[in-house]
Amino acid sequence: MITKEEVEHVGWLARIEIDAKQSDAYAVKLNSVLDYFGQLDEVDTENVPPTYHVADIVNVFRKDVVQESMPQEDVLANTENKQEGNFKAPRIM
């Protein structure tokens, strides 16, 4: 069972503000998702190897060759908060 407190904690992890009313509603919804996974648990997977990736391929690499980076101007194009070529964020502890 997912509790209201857990919903609020997950909200904090994702830096999303969830008020008390919302957290009740989310708890109900998340529990129904978990119930669905509970159904999957009924399938016997004893002898099935785990799947790590949907595509059945391994070892996709690139050579260690330099490609051009973006101009600084383009890198900072999507923000208004910049200073001397840096992104500028609020104070972080």
Partner: protein
């Protein structure tokens, strides 16, 4: 002598090594050569985490990781993959770090260090690959900061995180472990340890077999030793006052030399690791035989060979093989002059003079040290003059042969010494009488007179022998 470890200290280290000798980052083609560049000029959609970008693994980075794993005597895993470690912090713009989780590329290895009571095996738990986050710079002091500046040039650089078991019993052993690791990595030529941020350390420390505390933000080896000394003292004092040590993360404040508690709300579960869907798994265990062929002779093996091949003592062999550059330098010198003399001059004298001036071996040439050694072994100058020449070359430049002439260091001829001995005896009858009466000290006085007469260019030991022979006639 067995080290008792009276406080039951256990230290485990996590060392992040930045593979800055690769040309490009771990998942994109951005250049790694950003250290002197403007902020945010070595970034692209991949390392900026822009929507729709697709990371692709740098093949060479995987090869380097395997090389490091093999050098640390680790097993290379059959199959591995990358995971997303989710956390919101602006050092990574994607909201997660791409790292390895349950199948690190290298597991269970070991290295040997010079411990408190002789050689000690430090077990390696694992070595895994991950991306380096960007760099945050606080505007003003951390508590009164007005904002944070973010530079993503470092973001996406290849890191190898090497995790040890808590096998070190003192800050000194931790330091030796770090030095040994650095030495091995230098031999492998996978990183330049002199570049800023090339090696970063987190430490786990406990006393009296109690709960461990993690100390983060250690930026140098000297810092590691200081942080550990402080943290062990803090834990001991806390326990003495009746306190209890609980699992926590502390931050090392380099300027003040203290560790401070960092309140974090995140626990392992909160990272919600899951396989990175944008990258396919790696099956690279079959690369091992090829990578093994590229593995150079490592410090321990080189030390053993130096002892056997050059007949030098263990202490010299260790000093000469710590740094690959010094080892190569020594081998060149040893091919030209007597290897034992070369060991003394390179390991004891030259290294000391270089350390004193905070220089590395690049500051001296093989040719010059060979000249100095030849001058001394052919008895043309004294050992002391040899040292003087090395100092002069380091401080003012010039060639040993010229310095010998400029400073008049050529040893005086035997007959001049003999003459000085005779004069010294004739001019100091009282001292001679005292010596004959059994006053050993008087001999030193007369030797001093001989050295004065030869302006210090006589070998003091030879002068003493000549004097004794004359007095005993």
């Amino acid at each position: 002598m067995v080290y008792e470890n009276p406080d039951g200290v256990r230290i485990g280290l996590e060392v992040h090594v930045q593979l800055n000798k690769l040309n490009t980052k771990l998942f994109c083609g951005c250049s790694t050569n950003y250290h002197d560049s403007e902020p945010n000029t070595h970034v692209c959609p991949v390392c900026l985490g822009l929507p729709g970008s697709l990371p692709v693994i740098n093949e060479k980075a995987v090869e380097f990781a395997i090389k490091i794993g093999l050098a640390l005597n680790c097993n290379i895993v059959e199959q591995t993959q990358f995971h997303r470690k989710n956390y919101y912090y602006p050092d990574l713009p994607k909201g997660f770090q791409t790292t390895q989780y349950d199948f690190p590329i290298a597991g269970e290895g070991k290295i040997v260090i010079e411990g408190e009571d002789g050689e000690r095996v430090i077990r390696i738990t694992r070595a895994h690959m991950e991306e380096d986050p960007g760099r945050l710079q606080h505007m003003g002091s951390i508590d009164k900061s007005k904002g944070t500046l973010i530079n993503y040039n470092r973001s996406g650089m290849t890191l190898i995180e090497i995790v040890s078991e808590p096998d070190m019993r003192s800050p000194k052993e931790a330091r030796r472990y770090l030095d040994k690791l650095r030495s091995i990595l230098d031999y492998l030529d996978v990183f330049d340890g002199d570049l800023e941020g090339a090696m970063r350390v987190d430490a786990n420390v406990s006393v009296y077999m109690g709960e461990r505390v993690e100390v983060k933000n250690i930026s140098s080896f000297k810092g590691a030793e200081r942080a550990l000394l402080y943290e062990i003292m803090r834990q001991k004092n806390h326990i003495r006052r009746g306190g209890e040590i609980t699992l926590e993360t502390r931050h090392f404040d380099e300027a003040r030399g203290v560790t401070l508690s960092m309140r974090t709300k995140e626990t392992e579960n909160d990272y919600r690791y899951f396989p990175e869907p944008d990258l396919v798994p790696l099956r690279v265990a079959d690369w091992v035989p090829e990578v093994l062929k590229t593995l150079p002779e490592l410090p321990d093996a080189k030390r053993d060979r130096f002892i056997k091949e050059y007949g030098i003592i263990d202490m010299h062999a260790r000093a000469l093989t710590t740094e690959i550059k010094v080892a190569n330098f020594y081998e060149e010198v040893a091919s030209k002059v007597d290897p034992k003399a070369a060991a003394v001059w390179v390991a004891d004298i030259l290294k000391g003079e270089l350390n004193y001036r905070d220089l590395n071996v690049d500051a001296f040439t093989v040719e010059d040290i060979v000249s100095v050694i030849e001058l001394v072994t052919s008895n043309k100058i004294t050992e002391q003059s040899g040292v003087e020449i090395i100092r002069a070359v380091l401080d003012n430049g010039g060639k040993p042969q010229d310095i010998v002439k400029e400073k008049g260091l050529l040893k005086v001829e035997d007959d001049i010494v003999a003459k000085a001995v005779e004069e010294a005896i004739a001019e100091n009858p009282e001292a001679v009488a005292d010596y004959r009466a059994g006053k050993e000290k008087s001999l030193n006085f007369i030797v001093g007179k001989v050295m004065q007469k030869t302006k210090g260019r006589a070998d003091a030991r030879e002068a003493r022998e000549k004097l004794l022979a004359k007095l005993d006639e």
